[in-house]
Symmetry: D2
Subunit: 344 residues, 4 copies
Amino acid sequence: MPEVVFSVDQGKSMSEQAVPGHNRWHPDVPVATMVRPGSDFRVECREWTDAQIGNNDSANDVRDVDLSRAHMLSGPIGVEGAEPGDLLVVDILDLGPVQAPQEFGDAPGQGWGYTGIFARENGGGFLTDNSLGGTATGEVADRIAREGARTVPARENGGNHDIKNFTRGSRVFYPVHVNDAKLSGGDLHFSQGDGEITFCGAIEMGGFIDFGVDLIKGGMETYAVTTNPIFMPGNVEPRYSEFLTFIGISVDHENDTNEYLNATLAYKRACLNAVEYLKKFGYSGEQAYLLLGSAPIEGRVSGIVDIPNACCSLYLPTAIFDFDVRPSSAGPVSADRGMAAISS
Amino acid sequence: MPEVVFSVDQGKSMSEQAVPGHNRWHPDVPVATMVRPGSDFRVECREWTDAQIGNNDSANDVRDVDLSRAHMLSGPIGVEGAEPGDLLVVDILDLGPVQAPQEFGDAPGQGWGYTGIFARENGGGFLTDNSLGGTATGEVADRIAREGARTVPARENGGNHDIKNFTRGSRVFYPVHVNDAKLSGGDLHFSQGDGEITFCGAIEMGGFIDFGVDLIKGGMETYAVTTNPIFMPGNVEPRYSEFLTFIGISVDHENDTNEYLNATLAYKRACLNAVEYLKKFGYSGEQAYLLLGSAPIEGRVSGIVDIPNACCSLYLPTAIFDFDVRPSSAGPVSADRGMAAISS
Amino acid sequence: MPEVVFSVDQGKSMSEQAVPGHNRWHPDVPVATMVRPGSDFRVECREWTDAQIGNNDSANDVRDVDLSRAHMLSGPIGVEGAEPGDLLVVDILDLGPVQAPQEFGDAPGQGWGYTGIFARENGGGFLTDNSLGGTATGEVADRIAREGARTVPARENGGNHDIKNFTRGSRVFYPVHVNDAKLSGGDLHFSQGDGEITFCGAIEMGGFIDFGVDLIKGGMETYAVTTNPIFMPGNVEPRYSEFLTFIGISVDHENDTNEYLNATLAYKRACLNAVEYLKKFGYSGEQAYLLLGSAPIEGRVSGIVDIPNACCSLYLPTAIFDFDVRPSSAGPVSADRGMAAISS
Amino acid sequence: MPEVVFSVDQGKSMSEQAVPGHNRWHPDVPVATMVRPGSDFRVECREWTDAQIGNNDSANDVRDVDLSRAHMLSGPIGVEGAEPGDLLVVDILDLGPVQAPQEFGDAPGQGWGYTGIFARENGGGFLTDNSLGGTATGEVADRIAREGARTVPARENGGNHDIKNFTRGSRVFYPVHVNDAKLSGGDLHFSQGDGEITFCGAIEMGGFIDFGVDLIKGGMETYAVTTNPIFMPGNVEPRYSEFLTFIGISVDHENDTNEYLNATLAYKRACLNAVEYLKKFGYSGEQAYLLLGSAPIEGRVSGIVDIPNACCSLYLPTAIFDFDVRPSSAGPVSADRGMAAISS
């Protein structure tokens, strides 16, 4: 087990940790600790709502979640010698759920996780949260609050990628924009599909992530990696060889409108087609939607050429069902509606 | 070898064939032949420009191509008993390049194929082509010309999917909208990536395609497959286990604008990031662009959740290069710039 | 389509072809034709019994087969400049069944193939066939008859590998033992599993094979490839992700004997365990045996370490069945006993 | 994290644990604890030599190892309701290295592991170890000592399978021979190839293994699983798409002898061919041998049909090397001889 360089007490909120979490990107967020290129280390994380969702059957936790505290990351970890223009090589060596004794609480990741759908009015409060900057205080904290970029979206520095294959075994090459690179981590998922389409779409958990870091000095220029990271996915994701694939095109059938090469609409249509299909097997629309958000589906930009219609597709692995989900002359059979196996 | 039910003489244009080709979808396009559910058969096809591109090194063929003759399909093949509301089950049993003796000409598919980039002004003529309806004449032909839907884009009936995995071993479930179903085929590709991003992006070829057909009576209602086909990809596509992945987000860096969850822009950015990267290995921008259009890349809708940025990604299999395309401290080495192996 | 350098008339036996077949390895077998390193070419082949098995339901063809004519290969193809000590690089570019018009006969490969089990007394005649040496006559033919090595087993020069993955997309590096290398081909299979356990275990067919050749001069010494070829399997074999695996150990349960680290016995036991299992789903023993010989199973040397028992295993892909072949509390269900899909 | 039902103190030997380990199979070994069908639980294990090998560079630990204490398993775990004739369904949910604080010692699995080659005279003492039976004492312990079957080889009850794919995600169906089934675990490997050819071939470690258990009542008869378990491998093993494959046949070239269809000899020859090849890249024979024992190679029974020669093959994934291990005209280049990545 590599050395823990950022420790989290799963019984406390991110703002009460020894080094509090942060949900803003800003060059002035103080580094929590420094590591050397070539070293491996562990970072512990809370789940993305900071464990506001309880291990119970009530929907109220989701309704009442205070999103001003959400998406608090662990870190930043400074990498010695990293300078703007370098590529920071980050290996995701391992990640997993919480490994703390039960007496420290029952946070998501301690033997359970969750996924959810948020009402539009609730998610709407999402971008009004307080700024936070780790151990920053006084004027620095004010500057971070004024200027900081929220950690929620994908960004030029990486940000919140929510890419299905961004997991154990991956190697990421991040463009370095600030001294020490300042690597942060959090918002871990036990499972997710491409797109994480339901907003809180994955199986959310707290836990740990083991990183290895290295540098390619001047690599941004050498490899023209300027606006977004590149990465090499690992080779231990769950492997499927049979898929049922749903297609969508950039036509809004509700109001009979074509939107020129709009891949967002095309993928939305593919998702809706999948939902309608799964409803024939006994799922409610909400169940089907949650399933597509957290199962290891692949979302593909299949054709973005044949004007005026973009064509996207959703690859659903058939082996995650314990009944036969393929079309047949016998019609849908779904005595048991559970999923057979979704691996982390 | 299954029976050839639609034969093409590769020495003649599609309008001169025994049954001429068609590039319109219309219920009145006459069936070329009828087959029974449960049967296998072969359909021969010309390449999508109807072999206007010659086996030479001149760019003039692409410049001078007459797009009014393009995208002429073989068929339609009627399936006995197929009625609106059914699902037509189509197995793609095999496909391949032209298998005609050399004396019948030198069409794309006869030992060679091509890919290309079209100038904007040339592609602009694309939608002004003549309507054609197989063996239709007189008033029927006029109606098809007036009402017919062009075969070029992906459509609710299937249309031109240009999906990378739509190949040997796939099983497609098409919604049936007209009696006899009327299955057509054409525009074969020797190789392509997700997206076929360069318009004429694949390796284009003429050749044959072997279909098996069956029916699920009333399947559109049974499975809620109403607006687009679904399909199960085959399991013999080339298999890769290592990828270099480029990320794009829905930010236009040229004019510093964010476009809210725009997956089209995000995928375009991922493609441009890949082009810039490959240029560091000695490719010209055009070469890199052509490579990404015809190589077996995967295009992914990775994150369409974390507002305001969509995140798409392009998975480039590293094994198609015969040099090491991964980033390293040693910098890019590219003594030999060819691709090692792109399989059909 | 590459140039055909060895043509076979599927209406005639191998001894009646323009260049007759040969079933002996001998340096003096005359080359049928010469090719250059770097070239691609097609070789046509008859099925291994020389089409003595007819497309009918009688078992007599198998009983009466004349094995003195069996295993006649096409070639040898000489490679210019190849000398003892080189490595001959052979790419298997493509292979497929017979592509001759029906009027030339109905040989295996022309739309059908077969597999079989041979009685012990019949297979016993296998090694008594006539020697044949292509176009050799007189004293040379006599020498080949006296000294030639039969083509049936795997050998140091390659020989009859019958390796499941030795197919389309593979690159083989053969040690060169004679001038011109003298590459021969034949005994094509439409499908087979590891081991080809039933002797005539694969789906046997006539057809074509497209080779590309090259040389690594002096490669035997450079790479220490002296006694057997090495190869790189292709990446387009059918891909499965779920297997039911049978284990065998080197214990003969019929006479209660352990055979020290005997992998042959261990694999035989794994096969017998699989046969007994499949019989519970309604197959006869013979059907199960034939299935394991021709389906794309994997045979593994799993443990050859823990004395005194070798442990071998047989990986059966579950997706080749169209019923659920996995054990469950519900017991075996096998309304339909066919195989869903075995691809070439 | 599932409940730990068998706990190991990594600072003590297996004979000093609260429930001591056992290295004999015998119906009278007392169960350590009982679990219910349908439950998940964790079992902790010591490394196979009981941590006699230290984290140092001396070879003496291997030379001096006391094999009388080796292969002490954790358990047995009784499963409520299991009776002879049932199938015990065992899911391997997870496994991993030691997760104990460093102050409890430095056993294999605590951040390090090892592999080794044993001298013939040392391994020779292997089968002379003391019998041990968990908490058994007095007459029961004597009977176990007299009658017990050692845990080292693969056996009809399962035993020591050492099968490469017997890992995370696998589901095993064990024949039940005794009341309560009595499941034991141990001898964990961080990595290994098919065959574990070097005796102590894997990367050996102590650690934990998470099991889920269930029963198929009467399943031995229902599925004819009588003499060996069957299993379904998981789908998260490291995935490779390019292999360099070495072939061996059942010919002993040292004394020029053929051994009729001997797969053990054929696989040995394939291994030796691989060793000779790797030596050309700068490895010593011992290094190559160790590599083949612990890397995720596949060992295949390729042809066991073409008399008189069995043909086995060894599939070496090329991606585990950080140099190009494929043959080429340029000859072997091996500036850096390390392995790029061997995943657990």
